[in-house]
């Protein structure tokens, strides 16, 4: 439905560089990135608000690179909603219908239907200045949907809303996407928001698309350090630090999607084929080919460019060492140093052997059952598949 081919645009010192992206018909696609990454600029390019320096834009099979915004069949919802302050809610929604060939009665019905669908029919005669953030958002959405767009472009649609309204609107957006089968491109900087709505997502930083994948892939397997830092895994350690931990306790590194793979293809191949060792055998396994690959990455990069990521919610905290452990898991002895209550979750800060700090995020129920206290000796149970290794020069998606 949306195809962006090699889009280039410079605006002052900032530039979108060779952006390529494809969004399928009816898909809910989230463009995720930190502030200043170029998300809004890319969206405005799709709207036709900038003349491109290079590349092509295709919407619904039609090349719209040089088409005026009104000919692109898009619905655009800007970050601040941009409701027309001199018009009532009803007039705002009907704004785009003036050129429609339908009769006045049909248009009025369409506006009424949209207002009812979005639960804003009681606001019909109000001006935007007298609406709450959530109400403004719904009005702007209704206005964008009124023209029956093939693509809905949403620029941080819920960033200015409180948490409960945000959840409501996210559910509403997802429902509309399924009901109307409209392709949605949603820009945001919050990965929780991405998780709640996206079929697929892309991460953009510094004007480049860095990774495209499912929300789960992006969260669990970030393509490079920038993405990893952005998705806040909790535990992101330089390889050198991690090797200290693994050297003492035997935590193994899984796939190494790094330059090391290119440098030592045989070792990397062996690494994929290898089964993960048991805790008892792990120290021995450090001499295996895959450990050699990690070691190589460490040596060639001097440990500076290779990082190990482990999401804090994937770390289990045990108060007693279990008698047996699945072969793909490792136990890591540690001392509980700090407990922080975050509402529905609790963050445990631990210090593993070698002084390496690791975070674990527990659910409230799990935390209460564990009877944890600072200074307590605990064991961190880590599944090898949850460990992700990143190098700075990892391939861009």
């Amino acid at each position: 439905m949306i195809r962006i081919e090699g889009l280039c645009l410079s605006v002052g010192a900032f530039a979108l560089r060779q952006v390529c992206l494809e969004v399928a018909s009816g898909e809910y696609f989230v463009l995720l990135g930190p502030t200043g990454a170029g998300k809004t600029l890319l969206l405005e390019c799709l709207c036709g608000l900038y003349r491109l320096d290079g590349g092509r834009l295709i919407i619904a099979g039609r090349d719209v690179t040089h088409a005026e915004p009104r000919h692109r069949q898009i619905g655009y919802l800007p970050q601040d909603y941009a409701l027309f302050p001199h018009r009532t809610v009803r007039q705002n929604i009907a704004f785009g219908l003036r050129r429609s060939s339908a009769s006045r009665r049909q248009l009025q019905q369409r506006v009424q239907q949209l207002m009812e669908e979005l639960g804003i029919d009681h606001l019909a005669d109000r001006r935007p200045a007298r609406l709450s953030g959530g109400e403004k958002q719904r009005v702007a959405l209704a206005r964008a949907l009124a023209v029956r767009p093939q693509v809905l472009l949403l620029d941080e649609p819920v960033s200015a809303l409180d948490e409960s309204t945000r959840d409501d609107i996210c559910r509403l957006l997802r429902r509309l996407n399924r009901q109307l089968n409209t392709t949605v491109l949603h820009v945001c900087h919050n990965f929780a928001e991405m998780m709640s709505v996206a079929d697929r997502a892309a991460v953009i930083a510094d004007g480049r698309i860095i990774q495209v994948g499912t929300p789960h892939e992006i969260l669990q397997r970030p393509a490079n350090l920038a993405v990893a830092q952005f998705v806040q895994p909790g535990n992101l350690l330089p390889l050198a630090k991690w090797l200290v931990v693994s050297g003492r306790s035997g935590v193994q590194l899984p796939q190494l999607v790094t330059s090391a793979k290119k440098a030592q293809p045989e070792a990397a191949h062996a690494q994929r084929a290898e089964s993960y060792p048991s805790p008892e055998a792990s120290c021995v396994a450090q001499k295996s080919p895959r450990t050699a690959a990690v070691q190589h990455a460490h040596e060639t990069s001097n440990g500076q460019d290779t990082w190990v990521m482990l999401r804090s919610e994937n770390v289990r905290v045990l108060t007693n060492a279990p008698e047996s452990l699945p072969p793909d898991m490792t136990l890591l002895p540690a001392t509980l140093s700090e407990i922080t209550h975050l509402g529905a979750t609790v963050r445990l800060r631990t210090v593993a052997e070698g002084g390496v700090e690791l975070l674990a995020l527990l659910g409230k129920r799990e935390y209460i059952g564990g009877n944890y206290f600072p200074g307590q000796r605990v064991f961190l149970a880590i599944a090898h598949t949850d460990i992700h290794v990143i190098t700075q020069d990892a391939q861009l998606s």
Partner: protein, 290 residues
């Protein structure tokens, strides 16, 4: 506005700044009061009855009646009428220029933008008489003579009054319009364009209705400036009674023949009109901006 808790030093600072406000306002009020006093005293001198017959209120009323009588003179009424319609026409033409120029200066950036901005603002800071002189010289040039002979005559004509007023006051209107458009988020137009509008459509359906308040301010600024214009008119169209005489010219002519009370009466009338304009600017233009 929040009023923080303040000690003596804070109150002293506030009092000294307010003292300057009082000094300035009182200075102007004193000037205005002197004018009113002169006119009323003149009316008092002309009273057929002795001072013991008239209370202060009656004296003031007599003075006002005298002022209205002065304003009712044929020459002054003609000057008032000429002032009113020329400055109103200047507003219409000025706005027709200010809206597109203000919009262009606000929305588009081009290579010579700073230069264009400086030229647009120039008449605001220039002594107005220079405009009159420049117009006079221009219409002595071949191009000017061609306009005079083939299109329309301006020099020493009533149409020249409008041209002169426009050249001096349009800049104020353009500046006000540009500031108004600056204050309207271009994103509103962008959204309108994604909803089926052309750029012009977005301007007429979104930006212009939102700019109405600022454009009223622009109109009042043009009108008051045009209404009070004197120097360039003396140079460009002269001061011919019942022909090119506007109210400021009347003041000049009357005081030059020693009828100071008439000159002052017209002046007071003009001050009241200007004050009314400024009050409307404050009430309409600045409402909701604080």
């Amino acid at each position: 506005m929040a009023a923080p808790v303040e000690g003596f030093a804070g109150r002293l600072f506030a009092a000294s700044t307010l003292a300057f406000v009082v000094l300035f306002v009182v200075g102007w009020l004193a000037l205005f009061a002197a004018d009113v006093n002169y006119v009323l005293a003149d009316a008092y001198r002309r009273l057929p009855v002795g001072p013991e017959d008239g209370s202060l209120l009656r004296l003031a009323l007599r003075g006002l009646v005298g002022m209205v009588g002065v304003l009712g003179q044929r020459e002054i009424l003609a000057a008032l009428w000429l002032s009113l319609w020329t400055s109103s026409l200047s507003v219409v033409i000025g706005l027709l220029m200010a809206i597109p120029i203000g919009y262009a200066m606000s929305r588009y950036r081009f290579l010579t933008h700073p230069l264009a901005e400086a030229i647009i603002d120039l008449p605001i800071i220039l002594p107005p008489v220079i405009v009159g002189l420049s117009l006079l010289v221009f219409f002595q040039s071949p191009a000017g003579k061609w306009i005079e002979n083939s299109l329309v005559q301006f020099v020493f004509q009533r149409k020249g009054i409008v041209l002169c007023q426009l050249m001096v006051s349009a800049s104020l209107g353009i500046r006000a319009a540009a500031l108004t458009f600056d204050g309207i988020d271009p994103r509103l137009e962008h959204v309108a364009m994604t909803l089926g509008c052309t750029r012009a459509g977005a301007f007429f359906r979104v930006t212009l209705p939102l700019a109405v308040r600022g454009l009223v301010v622009a109109a009042i600024l043009i009108w008051t400036r045009a209404f009070g214009l004197f120097g360039p008119l003396m140079v460009f169209v002269g001061a011919v009674r019942l022909r090119t005489e506007v109210l400021p010219t009347t003041i000049y002519l009357e005081q030059s023949v020693g009828r100071l009370e008439v000159a002052l009466t017209v002046a007071i009338f003009m001050v009241l009109l200007a004050a009314m304009g400024l009050v409307i600017v404050r009430a309409v233009g600045l409402r909701g901006q604080k």
